[in-house]
């Protein structure tokens, strides 16, 4: 896939990290404000998509990236499940999805028990999944054109 002009490339270089950071902000504040893992993950994937669109990419690099994203996705979704199962094992009451971490003070960033952790895992999962879908489409497009 070919890239765009130098103006677009430079602007993207400036903007993409900020978008990524904003996505991460949404993810870690999921338990305090609107948004959360899913919305933040999509925004984070947006930064990657922007980079690929602006700078273009070589097919082999894309395939490698897809491989890594798939691994991240599977690990994230497995971690989500593992945390839920930990509730079953750690807490004395044996309850699936038990919030076993100390809940802290309401309104603090570090509060609400394991919900922020789950949010981060969901964010990673959605980020990887949306990027994988996009990269798969680009790869398909490139292969058809070949």
């Amino acid at each position: 896939m070919k890239g765009m002009t130098i103006i677009v490339k430079k602007i993207t270089q400036l903007v993409a990290p900020i978008i990524f950071l904003f996505g991460f902000y949404i993810v870690i504040h999921g338990h305090l404000s609107p948004g959360g893992g899913f919305a933040g993950g999509v925004i984070m994937a947006g930064a990657i998509i922007l980079q690929i669109l602006a700078n273009g990419n070589i097919l082999n690099n894309l395939l490698q990236e897809e491989h890594g994203m798939e691994l991240l996705e599977s690990v994230a979704i497995f971690l989500f499940m593992l945390i839920a199962v930990l509730g079953l094992l750690v807490s004395g009451t044996a309850i699936f999805f038990q919030n076993f971490v100390n809940k802290g003070v309401w309104g603090n960033l570090l509060s609400a028990g394991f919900i922020p952790i789950e949010n981060i895992v969901v964010g990673a999962e959605v980020f990887a999944a949306i990027s994988t879908i996009f990269i798969a489409m680009v790869v398909y497009n490139d292969e058809v054109k070949k």
Binding site: E70, S74, I77, F78, M81, L88, F96, F97
Partner: protein, 511 residues
Amino acid sequence: MNSLIPLFVIIPLGSAFLMVILERFLKNICKVITPFALLSLLILTLHFILRVEDTQIYKVGGFEPVNGIPIAIYMVIDGLSKFVLLIISLVGFFSILYSLSYTNQYTSENKFYVLFSLLIAGMNGVVISGDIFNIYVFLEIAAIASYALVAFGVEKQQLEATFKYQILGGIASMIILMTIGLIYWNTGTLNIADIYTQISNQNSLFLKFVSLLFVAGFGLKAAIFPFHSWLPDAHSSAPSPISAMLSGVLIKAIGIYVVFRLFFNMFPLSHEIAMTITVLGTISMIVGVLLAIGQWDLKRLLAYHSISQMGYVIIGVGIGMLVIVTGGDKKIAALSIAGGLFHMINHSVFKGLLFLNAGAIEYRTGTRNLQRLGGLAKFMPITSSTSFIASMSISGIPPFNGFFSKVLIIVAAVRAGYNWIAFFAVFVSVITLASFTKVQKYAFHNNDGNKWLKKNIKEVPFSMSFSMIIMALLCLGLSFFIVPEVRDIFLNPAVQILVDTMEYSTKIVGM
């Protein structure tokens, strides 16, 4: 609370995600993990059936009800759930054993096992879920996994079939989601037991509308008569162990089971709905078999028979519903429902076996066109004999299991006064026998099969023949469900849930 209940979802879901990670490092890990996961599910189900009595509920997250209103997600295991879980894990385990050799022909085998585990997780989730929204969520997991599995061969015909299946399945899911929204709007709750307490006194137009939407939505998933057109394509194009799962288990777990659960335990029983279900069941029984007899594609023929046999299950339970609504003898209702549920497990076993046989034939000869087959009995003795047993079971020949369940349904229909339905049930059974005589003749006998000699056709590998033999033995073994002592353990708890319609909600709201 019984903390073993969430394991029914955790085990298949966890093994699916674990396999996606591990398959990068260990090539054949999927073929080890999946059978063990399925085996542990089977053991867990048997533990629940044999050791745990009464209704068990589980509140996810441990949230207790507030002022008697349930707020947590409920997982419920009662007689009916246990019965359907038994079907899922039994057929699932033998299908996966069969797949171990069968999937060698595909390039990305590992994805097959991942999707298979997700399919099992979705179906288990539907069966143990206690609220309608989670039924929808798990139903989608199962449905999306099955869309991908139908297209697993990625050939033209399979892609077309899965496209059709996705569109109709998507319409069904949309109808179901919309109906759930309507119910939530009216009652303010999603818990099945809680909904029952709120709408049990109503008899409004709204309820009738919502019931009909559910019949349409889950009817599409279960391939009841006017909604059946996707089934023959999808079930015949899928890889054979998946066809066995789709026909044998999926249409029951996410279609028929939910219909029974909702119309017995959530909606107040109504004569109109009972009549609708019974009539649709009768029509699909007749239409399915009439469409089946002319088919020459072996798997397509079997798929049409699935529609017909599901008709038996529906009329069995439908007559029971009619008898309860009209205030008839509860013993007749129980007999009829027992017949329907008994036919459900029987059908999953013999139809699963028939699809596995069809897969074995396709695996060795490369075709499933009956006109090009013939004389295979000499070359594939195990496939031939197990297929004979399954054919006799589906046609209702004693002493195989299909006979006993059909007899129960027909006797109940006559005693309840629905003579026409009994007549049609016998009539369809005769045509079924005719069409399976055709299968036996054209696939296994007909000619001396000298053309197979040149191609060096032999029996299928061990894992495939082993699971076919066990399924054939089950066709005989399930006949023992008719013995009262065995029936008390496996069948009667499920029947009891459907006959005492109110008990479900009083038990759960009380806990």
